[in-house]
């Protein structure tokens, strides 16, 4: 990558708790190294509880105990100057928040104050950073709402008076209205109908293109990844297990978990039973030895049970952490898709 805006090195972030004198540690982010380019949309997918939210909390400088950065660095190169948010002070983080770096949290309600009207919340968030006169500010907010297909009267509503999807769009509005350089979004469109979802994704892409912003996007919806991202990173059990350009990840995955993921959802017109992975997600307090996917992996051999596979380049721009990446076959369906045999 030519121009990086973010570089993550050897990041470990654990939840460390004490229960009645017993120390418990959940290794939610366990040694992640990656980088994101300026003007890039990077998608993150992976199992439930694989550490995606924990990872992007670190990126968003929103780490709270018991989550703790154990080692590693998270360096941004903002226009206003470089910052390592894994080591920055609260005051340093405050200076970049919303203007340079914005974060749309999973479960949108948390940023919305239940006793303040939506209009007041917009004012609280954006009035100072935007520095516009009152009238111009109001116009800016209304324009922004319209792009999110939200009617102007929601400004008078309290959060509980809006539907789930409306609240979700409000939080996207808050996070994007100041045109930040780096937008981090955790499941931002899960509560939207397909039509609005498409329009909102379009908006996010527009803002990104207009402003040359970078976006990190977590979602379980692989069809969203397919249409929005430039690159995708796949998490499994606290690790980045594969990463590459979007097309490659869909049509030539090199990790068995990715292959499973891109082939696992049913489609309209298709009633064949879809496989769900055998076995349970690993326990991050006591993860399996070797490759963490080995207990559920169809390709696992003895080596996988003992040695941790490193994330290595397997094709230009594509990295995989699998001892047997050469044997990973795209599942039938994705092959067929790539060849346009089915839709």
């Amino acid at each position: 990558m030519t121009d990086e805006i973010l570089r993550v090195d050897g990041l470990k972030a654990y939840y460390q708790m004490h229960y009645f004198g017993v120390q418990r540690e959940v290794r939610a982010v366990d040694d992640v190294t990656m980088s994101i380019g300026r003007n890039e949309v990077y998608g993150i997918a992976g199992e439930s509880s694989s550490g995606k939210t924990s990872f992007i909390k670190v990126l968003a400088a929103a780490v709270r105990p018991p989550l703790r950065v154990v080692s590693g660095s998270v360096n941004y190169d903002f226009r206003s100057g470089p910052i390592n948010v894994a080591a920055a002070t609260a005051a340093e983080v405050e200076r970049v928040r919303w203007k340079s770096l914005s974060y749309i949290m999973q479960g949108s309600m948390s940023v919305l104050n239940p006793v303040r009207r939506i209009g007041q919340t917009f004012h609280d968030f954006a009035f100072r950073p935007l520095g516009l006169p009152r009238e111009a500010f109001d116009r800016r907010v209304l324009d922004h709402l319209a792009r999110l297909k939200l009617p102007a009267d929601i400004l008078r509503a309290y959060p509980h008076e809006l539907s789930g999807g409306m609240r979700q769009r409000v939080t996207i509005g808050l996070a994007t209205i100041c045109h930040p350089e780096f937008i981090i979004a955790d499941e931002p469109t899960t509560a939207l109908d397909l039509v609005v979802q498409k329009e909102v994704l379009h908006l996010i892409r527009d803002i990104q293109a207009e402003m040359g912003a970078s976006v990190v996007f977590v979602t379980h919806d692989m069809s969203v990844h397919a249409n929005v991202t430039d690159r995708i990173g796949i998490f499994y059990a606290g690790r980045l297990v594969e990463e590459g350009p979007t097309r490659k990840m869909f049509f030539a995955p090199r990790h068995p978990y990715t292959a499973h993921l891109v082939a696992s959802l049913p489609r309209i017109g298709d009633t064949a039973q879809r496989p769900s992975l055998d076995g349970r997600p690993p326990n991050l307090a006591a993860p399996p030895d070797g490759c963490r996917f080995h207990p559920r992996c169809p390709l696992a051999v003895d080596k996988c049970r003992i040695d941790v596979p490193p994330l290595v380049e397997v094709a230009p721009g594509q990295r995989s952490a699998c001892w047997r990446w050469q044997d990973v076959q795209p599942l039938d369906r994705s092959v067929a898709l790539a060849h346009g045999a089915v839709t």
């Binding site: 199992e47 439930s48 498409k198 397919a226 249409n227 959802l265 009633t271 769900s276 898709l337």
Partner: protein, 305 residues
């Protein structure tokens, strides 16, 4: 023969805003539907964001009263004000799983306490081993275990784990009707299939009916018996799920299907919404219309010119 659930011409209006001008929102506008006791089914509700799906679910759960119309569950009127015993009896048959697990749980209360109080209240159990067994049984059905969640607070679980706990909690009383409001929107593809398959099993093996609210047309197609599509508070199409999804008729239903994101062209950034279908669907908003039956059993809203 009494129906399991009978929603009769139900409407709900909210007033928005205060001193400076009020606005009435027709959250639900003349909705009717019936679920039969003899034929447990997965009944799916799909629709626009803000079209009244959650409001309708809340009325069926007796958390909100209709402005007009009535709702009967096993022949009894459902309403917000029920006596304590009546409410308990009702809730042991009808259980919710809400849209956003982060909002559904009290952040200050340990997760297993929730399950514990549900088990105590509905199973009438007081013996700790019986309660633990019931909790573990329900958790195992959703791929978790009591050992994993004991003593943990909601924020200590991931979104997907929390949603599975919400489903497990709802299963404890062994309800006849489960109302699941977007239960899979926050879980990965693999878990999504296991939860969706779980809903199927509940229907097939335990005779549980499910009202499944979702934005995901693919899982709707995969598991639903019937489907209903809502736009701006109104039911615009209702019928056998596969027929409706294969050949949607109402302009909004057609727009919805055309907006499904495909993975066939991964990397190409296909995000355009069909402008003709979008215009046709918008034209229906606010226009009077009535549901007309079709020979294939579905009903479609036809609008006056």
């Amino acid at each position: 023969m009494t129906a399991l659930l009978d929603v009769r011409d139900v409407s709900k209006r909210f007033t928005l805003g205060g001193v400076f001008g009020r606005k009435t929102v027709h959250a639900v506008d003349g909705a009717s539907l019936t679920l039969q006791t003899e034929t447990p089914e997965i009944f799916t509700i799909i629709g626009e964001s803000g079209s009244g799906k959650t409001t309708l679910a809340r009325m069926i759960l007796g958390l909100e009263d209709p402005t007009e119309g009535s709702i009967l569950f096993q022949g009894q009127t459902v309403r917000r004000r029920m006596g304590k015993d009546e409410r308990m009896r009702f809730m042991s048959s009808v259980q919710p799983v809400f849209q956003n697990p982060f909002e559904a749980f009290n952040p200050l209360r340990q997760i297993d306490r929730y399950l514990d109080s549900t088990a105590r209240a509905f199973l009438g159990a007081t013996d700790k081993t019986v309660i633990d067994a019931a909790m573990d049984d329900a958790l195992q059905k959703v791929g978790l275990s009591l050992a994993e969640i004991r003593g943990r607070f909601p924020h200590e679980l991931s979104g997907g784990q929390l949603q599975r706990v919400a489903i497990a909690r709802a299963l404890i009383p062994k309800p006849a009707l489960l109302i699941a409001d977007e239960p899979v929107s926050m879980v990965d593809a693999s878990l999504r299939m296991s939860i969706v398959n779980l809903l199927k099993t509940l229907r097939d093996s335990f005779g549980v009916s499910v009202i499944y609210i979702t934005h995901d047309l693919a899982t709707a197609y995969y598991i639903s018996d019937r489907i209903m599509i809502m736009q701006r508070g109104r039911i615009v199409e209702i019928g056998a799920a596969r027929k409706v999804l294969e050949t949607p008729e109402h302009p909004y239903s057609r727009l919805l299907k055309s907006s499904v994101l495909s993975t066939a062209d991964a990397g190409a950034g296909q995000l355009a919404v069909d402008p003709t279908l979008l215009r046709a669907a918008s034209d229906c908003i606010g226009r009077p219309g009535r549901l007309v039956s079709r020979p294939d059993g579905r009903a479609v809203m036809i609008h006056d010119a």
